[in-house]
């Protein structure tokens, strides 16, 4: 990203309105013609405790955090030190705090950044029903060049249910905050104003979890069974009312085992079906995923990854479910594994995966992660895509129906209950072509070949990876790490260096020919991933021919990759 961006961290005690102020600032900025990203941070608890909203605003689309924050805005000092590692500051950053709040912690007093205290609580007291977070919102809006009308429009949208008095108090608070900030601009000594461009296209404000839900609907999903788990719950909470609107439904299941088996039932019935979960839930679902592969029943599981193993760090991001997604199923069970590369790509990748699972009658796992799922991004409205669920089915009156016929493509038409003549039993046991259980070596080989063949032969087009730039040095990555990698490469490009990026969207089946093509002319390779044990690198080595000169930048969660550290590694590689 070569254009100017502004990064603001807002922290405070739970209930101080940190997330509300953050999201309003983001949405108002979008309304005023900016783009932005808001990631959120909290402790291992979901409610209560301290909270932080990390916002990055820009004149152009932006989808990863910057190296440093320009502003750290603290409503109070409640446990702000817990976020220390997540709050990189530099000498020209500014920390803004409330005059009324006592004793900044050492993390603040020892900081390299300058500190400016403002009368937050005092200003709030001057307004009936006024709240410091609205003063803060006004101040930050003014500093970043977000005008009052945009803030007002968002306040009206969000607060209309709370009544006129609440709305008036909030608007007064924001106006007051803007006044306070006018005096402040000279004190902080940095210009945070961003150039606003006229709205050319309709902009959307959405999280990765919402985007994944929308991708499912666009792909034709009409049934979901669900068990809540952080950080995947919002996919399900978003789908519940929206499935209902389009004539589908969501069942809250008793556990993850029920969820995945329910969607197997729904899909056997001919209705494209999905569930969403996170690491521990995916572990519980792996046996049933094998059934879907064996019985060739299309299903999709969205796995919003979090720190593992076990309960790990539920509210923080990591990519370490990769191994279980790729290898967790017992037996030889070829299936689809995809990875969303950005918040907006959660929509594309989910929709595409539904399409693939349906077309190939198999199980698909979409890898998202906490940093995509629970972050909010301002994006241009995505184009309509042609990918919809289209399953090969048999018509009524079929004779001598062979459910698992050994077709050339490996895909055999499915009979949907209600179709006379197509009656068969979907089975986790190995079967002959006619769906009868069989333990013969011949049938086993033939069906294993068929299930692998249909995945290997399919034409995935160009969507298997995003390939950008050229160069003898290349970076291979996947998922949410794509955005910081892309920004790192763009920064180096502006310094004249040429680097190629290969971000894999289709992780399994592996397409070695496509990777060979992508790696033509590449002499040095850097693999970047957010795991501790280099899961992605090991997978790449097992499936592809990599250049001899390949290095790995692997870092577990919960701290996000920032473009600067990737820039540094790339510079070392030359």
């Amino acid at each position: 990203m070569t254009s100017k961006t502004v990064s603001i961290a807002i922290t405070g005690a739970g209930g101080a309105g940190v997330m509300t102020a953050g999201q309003m600032l983001l949405d108002a900025a979008a309304k005023a013609g900016l783009y932005g990203l808001m990631t959120r941070s909290s402790g291992p608890q979901i409610r209560g405790g301290e909270a932080a909203a990390f916002i990055r605003l820009s004149s152009d689309p932006i989808d990863c955090p910057d190296d440093y924050f320009d502003v750290l805005f603290c409503f109070d000092w409640m446990n702000v030190d817990r976020f220390a590692a997540e709050l990189p500051l530099r000498t020209d950053s500014v920390i803004i705090g409330d005059e009324a709040a006592k004793n900044p912690p050492e993390m603040i007093t020892a900081s390299v950044a300058r500190q400016v205290m403002v009368p937050l609580s005092e200003a709030a007291k001057e307004i009936e029903g006024g709240r410091p977070n609205m003063i803060g919102l006004g101040m930050l809006g003014e500093l970043a060049g977000v005008p009052l009308d945009a803030l007002q429009a968002i306040l009206e949208k969000v607060l209309k249910r709370k009544g006129q008095a609440a709305l008036d108090a909030s608007i007064a608070g924001v106006e007051k905050g803007m006044q306070v900030a006018t005096d402040l601009e000279s004190k902080i000594g940095i210009d945070l104003h961003l150039e606003r461009k006229e709205n050319q296209q309709t902009r959307w404000s959405l999280t990765g979890n919402e985007a994944a839900g929308m991708g499912a609907l666009r792909g034709g999903v009409r049934f979901c069974a669900a068990y809540p788990i952080t950080p995947a719950t919002e996919v399900l909470e978003w789908l519940a009312p929206n499935l209902e609107k389009v004539g589908g439904t969501l069942v809250q299941a008793e556990d993850e085992l029920a969820s995945v088996n329910m969607i197997i039932g729904g899909s056997f019935g001919g209705v494209p079906s999905i569930t969403a979960t996170a690491g521990p839930g995916l572990a519980l679902m792996t046996e049933a995923l094998g059934l879907a592969v064996s019985a060739e029943i299309p299903i999709v599981v969205i796995d919003v990854m979090r720190g593992g193993p076990s309960t790990g760090i539920p509210t923080k991001s990591e990519q370490s479910d990769l191994n279980i997604a790729l290898h967790g199923l017992h037996g030889d069970a070829p299936h689809i594994v995809t990875a969303a590369q950005s918040i907006s790509d959660c929509l594309f990748t989910t929709q595409w995966t539904v399409h693939l699972a349906e077309a190939l009658q198999t199980a698909g796992i979409v890898l998202s992660d906490q940093s995509l799922g629970q972050s909010r991004n301002i994006i241009d409205k995505p184009a309509d895509l042609a990918f919809v669920a289209k399953r090969e089915v048999v018509e009524a009156g079929v004779e001598d129906y062979k459910r698992y016929a050994l077709s050339d493509s490996g895909v055999s038409p499915m009979a949907i209950p209600g179709t006379p003549g197509g009656e068969y039993v979907a089975d986790g046991l190995e079967t002959a072509e006619n769906a009868r259980p069989s333990s013969s070596a011949e049938d086993h080989y033939a069906q294993l070949d068929k299930r692998q063949r249909k995945l290997s032969q399919f034409d995935y087009g160009q969507h298997w990876a995003e390939i950008e730039g050229e160069g003898e040095l290349a970076v291979v990555t996947f998922g949410s790490v794509t955005a910081p990698v892309r920004e790192a490469i763009q920064r180096l490009e502006s310094e004249g260096q040429k680097i190629k990026m290969i971000s894999m969207r289709l992780l399994s089946p592996a397409l070695p020919d496509k990777m060979d093509e992508a790696l033509v002319g590449v002499k040095k390779l850097l693999v970047v991933e957010q795991t501790h044990s280099k899961q992605f690198y090991r997978y790449l080595r097992s499936e592809f021919d990599l250049p001899k000169d390949t290095t790995v930048l692997a870092k577990p969660g919960p701290l996000p990759f920032r473009p600067g550290e990737i820039v540094n590694t790339l510079k070392e590689l030359g």
């Binding site: 309304k31 088996n261 329910m262 039932g265 899909s267 039993v425």
Partner: protein
């Protein structure tokens, strides 16, 4: 053409596949298979509109022996798969089948929640108080002092699971017990269960002559039609307090709201997408 083609009524044989069951000679499950196909014939369910869903175990092989749609799924999850199918395709007739190990041990949680959820489907459990497919270990319904298993040579020392009592407690709206030795009675119970609106549970005592040869005596012990429950939960509970497990009949039947979400399109995708706009 004013001539209406008269279709011949379907008989129980029409619901059987030509696949030979893997069960041991004398297994009670043969009779339960006959009872299910007879019930389907009695109700004249079109074959293509019915699905039998099972988990893993001897009795869970039932779908393959029928000629309707079916899923032979994974261990313990028959009710979950059946629930998904019925909710997604409410017009289908869905029957889940399985054994006591599959249904009450690994699948115990799904059993409780299926009773609570009250999806309109029928669950037939062939109860032989033993794991037959893995050659004779104790199941949840096995008496605590049964020493026939190498895995628990001194007995399980664990109270047996009482399927009817648990079904009532969990909120099942139709609860019955049948006996494999009485295929006509079982067929009648299954047909009544299928006609019930809501989740219907039928336990069928189905002897395992291989690992529990003493169960051949059941035909002398079982008392047909002796359960007296009806529509009173209190009466049904009270009956179970002194029940020896060998009376058959309908224990309890009531009407309560069926879990069947309405599925009709109210809005297009564009309306939903508009909610992302600022």
């Amino acid at each position: 053409m004013d001539q209406v083609l008269q279709q011949k009524p379907l008989t129980f044989k029409d619901y059987k596949s030509d696949y030979k069951p893997v069960w041991c000679p004398g297994c009670g499950d043969f009779s339960v298979l006959a009872a299910i196909t007879k019930a389907l014939a009695e109700l004249q369910i079109p074959r293509e509109d019915c699905a039998v869903v099972s988990g893993i175990g001897c009795s869970s092989r039932i779908p393959a022996y029928t000629s309707v749609y079916g899923i032979h799924a994974i261990h313990g999850r028959a009710l979950a798969a059946a629930t998904g199918l019925k909710v997604a395709r409410p017009e289908l007739t869905v029957i889940a089948t399985g054994g006591d190990g599959d249904g009450f041990s690994i699948g115990g949680n799904h059993f409780l929640h299926a009773c609570r959820r009250n999806v309109d489907m029928t669950y037939v459990v062939m109860d032989n108080e033993v794991y037959g497919m893995t050659k004779g270990q104790a199941s949840p319904t096995t008496a605590s002092d049964w020493e026939g298993s190498k895995l628990t040579p001194h007995g399980t020392g664990v109270s047996p699971f009482n399927p009817l009592s648990i079904a009532l407690s969990a909120g099942a709206s139709f609860v019955a017990r049948g006996f494999a030795g009485d295929p006509n009675g079982s067929a009648k119970l299954i047909a009544q269960a299928m006609q019930h609106k809501g989740f219907s549970f039928v336990q069928i005592l189905s002897p395992c002559v291989t690992f529990r040869p003493e169960q051949t005596e059941w035909k002398k012990i079982v008392r047909k039609g002796e359960i007296e429950g009806g529509h009173s939960l209190a009466q049904a509970m009270s009956f179970l307090a002194t029940d020896d497990g060998f009376a058959t009949g309908i224990l309890y039947e009531t009407q309560r709201p069926v879990y069947a979400p309405e599925m009709s399109e109210k809005q297009g995708l564009a309306d939903i997408e508009a909610s992302f706009e600022l």
